[in-house]
């Protein structure tokens, strides 16, 4: 019974990871790639790690797995935000079919620095 649950969870986790890999190859733009990979990969790896906790059924392994999942869910959005912000500042181009750019004019593209800078 536990084996079937582990197999189902591992299959869905692997499929989510594969979707993230297809997304990072097929998406036309850096920002769409960040958007697709962060969400899909954190869910897929969370499911696969949860399989490990179900398989071993020990308190130490479960604690370790929950710590890793919590850390991934905490840090994946932060690092995606930082990379996207750095990419916008150094001038990585947006997709040609982008409709709205909320940050247009907020950063000076010639100086590549914030207009309302903290310093």
């Amino acid at each position: 019974m536990t084996d079937i649950v582990i197999a189902i969870l591992a299959t869905s986790g692997a499929v989510f990871t594969l979707l993230a890999a297809v997304g990072i190859v097929r998406m036309p733009d850096l920002y769409l790639r960040i958007s697709v990979t962060t969400k899909a990969a954190s869910l897929g790896i969370g499911l696969i790690l949860f399989c490990t906790a179900l398989y071993f059924k020990e308190t130490s392994v479960t604690t370790k797995v929950l710590a890793i999942i919590f850390f991934i869910f905490l840090t994946a959005p932060v690092s995606a935000h930082l990379i996207g912000r750095a990419a916008y500042i150094i001038g990585v181009p947006l997709w040609v079919h982008t409709i709205v750019d909320h940050l247009e004019g907020k950063y000076d593209k010639n100086k590549n620095d914030e207009l309302s800078s903290e310093e």
Partner: protein, 91 residues
């Protein structure tokens, strides 16, 4: 088909295929930030491989390496984004 055979013959090839696809983007990525994102995703997929391998070999000790990989992925992406911004600012 037992659970170990299923994990070995179905799940591991799917994860290996996704590592290959991410590596394609790591090689052809037009800008450096694409490569940073691909490296982050490579490390996270490696954590999934480690988790499946720890089930296959009955060794839960491998999960410590997965935890260290999570720390390294976060630190490397933060450091890369910080230095990319600093590099352009000092030109």
């Amino acid at each position: 088909m037992s659970l170990h055979e299923y994990l070995f013959y179905i799940i591991m090839p799917i994860l290996a295929l996704s590592v290959l696809l991410i590596f394609v983007r790591f090689v052809i990525g037009p800008s450096i930030t694409d490569r940073v994102v691909a490296l982050d995703l490579l490390i996270i997929t490696g954590m999934g491989l480690i988790a499946v391998y720890s089930i296959l070999t009955d060794q839960p000790t491998f999960l410590d390496i997965a935890m260290i990989f999570a720390l390294l992925a976060f630190l490397s992406s933060v450091a890369f984004s910080f230095y990319l911004k600093q590099r352009r600012k000092n030109d």
